[in-house]
Symmetry: C2
DNA sequence: TCAATGCTTCGATTACGATCGAAGTATGAA
DNA sequence: TTCATACTTCGATCGTAATCGAAGCATTGA
């Protein structure tokens, strides 16, 4: 009663359906405007504005003004990790917001988790990197890129030095709600997803967290990260 | 809006201060009666009863009748893990329910996390087991006890065969809100904490999650799990 | 059988927060 | 300047859920 962190505030922020819908939408990784979020959550702009102010005060989202638009996004990686963990628990209880529809398999295969790749493909990528000795599990969930790993991502065209400059962790784990296993988050996870899209291997589906690989992209990905 | 697990229900369950207080109390690992929980949360028995019914319907807690008492506890390890992860996020936002008091350092040093040891000592124990090659990190957050590890815990007096029989995972990681690192959960984590208390090395503090080591217990623990 | 304890259910009250219309502010375009 | 768009703030309404008193079960012990 008088010790430890206060989870009630965070819980109540997530506990409202409209806000939960917005947060879920923002897990797609794209920054969205209040108007878009209002549409997705099925509420008016005024209500959405009020919700977003609360989420911002609670540190869950952050905004960036651009012209007459305001773009909202999850404030940090941590928020995405926490939400994914909550989703994992909810999924294990069978609490889904709809009867599992046709999109569900696509989501389980590959989807965006805030800014990195999740689902079967995300888990496979991390497993493969570890098996190849390119990422080391230091202890618990600290991950570290090995020298071999660094060379590998540089060959792929990722600017490793730029990643190092930022204060954000380069590698970290994120628990996958569909696979119940870890996948790769952190700035490297973000850079890799951006790379796949940049190379035209994969595309984000509109209005969904699903990631659709092209035929050639899928082939290249599976070769690059063997099981 | 139409895909993925429903986090709003879980969020709203955690979002009420009275329920959050009860859940935090149950993180101490002991099963508690509605009367006790009502006292801790500062509400009447009727209100507590209503909250507990909701938590039970949501799958967060489970009850066991014993005579004219009903003992409530977190329903599974998963719940504890999820709550600890939420606490980690809340703590990183500086959201504490009180000014950090004298008990805070004790909590950071060693505390109960549902049924296993957390805090600095919990993290140290897992790190030490991994360094000694007694626990292996398979990939991501799958942990496995090695042959050497099995011999070690059997020497300590833990019935490994009994652990194997249960369907629960023996080793798993749990993210520590104070250390931001992983410590050991699962049935082995539970058995080890029970062992320390059984041997008289440590005691649970009353009405707190803190675990206090005796002088000799602390010495033995630190020798057993060198940094 | 009766009384005491522990808890649940019912019912009424209350308070808070979600919601949206209307009005106000800021940015950009004509 | 004027108009349009994007968003926030204000104010009023409304619904829901938290709360607790009172009554109802169930278990125990005498």
């Amino acid at each position: 009663m008088k010790e430890g962190p206060d989870i009630a505030l965070i819980g109540s922020l997530i506990g409202d359906p409209a806000r939960a819908n917005m947060l879920t939408a923002l897990m797609g990784g794209q920054a969205l405007t209040p108007t878009e979020l209002a549409g997705l959550a099925g509420i008016t702009l005024q209500t959405a504005s009020s919700h977003l102010a609360k989420l911002e005060a609670g540190g869950l989202v952050a905004q960036r003004k651009q012209g007459r638009h305001r773009y909202y996004a999850l404030s940090e990686d941590e928020v995405g990790l926490m939400l994914e963990s909550l989703m994992g628990f909810a999924a294990s209880r069978g609490l889904t917001r709809h009867r599992p529809g046709p999109k569900d398999p696509a989501l389980r295969k590959a989807r965006v988790c805030y800014n990195h790749l999740a689902g079967d493909y995300g888990v496979r990528m991390l497993d493969s990197l570890i098996a190849a000795g390119e990422i080391e599990v230091a202890s618990g969930d600290d991950l570290a890129l090995t020298d071999a790993g660094r060379r590998r991502v540089e060959v792929l065209g990722i600017d490793y030095a730029a990643l190092q400059k930022s204060r954000r962790p380069i590698c970290r784990t994120c628990l996958d709600w569909s696979e119940r296993r870890s996948h790769l988050a952190g700035s490297l996870g973000e850079a890799l997803l951006a790379l796949f899209i940049d190379k035209g291997w994969a595309k984000r589906e509109k209005d969904s967290r699903a990631v659709r690989f092209t035929a050639t992209g899928e082939k290249a990905f599976l070769e690059l990260f063997p099981r």
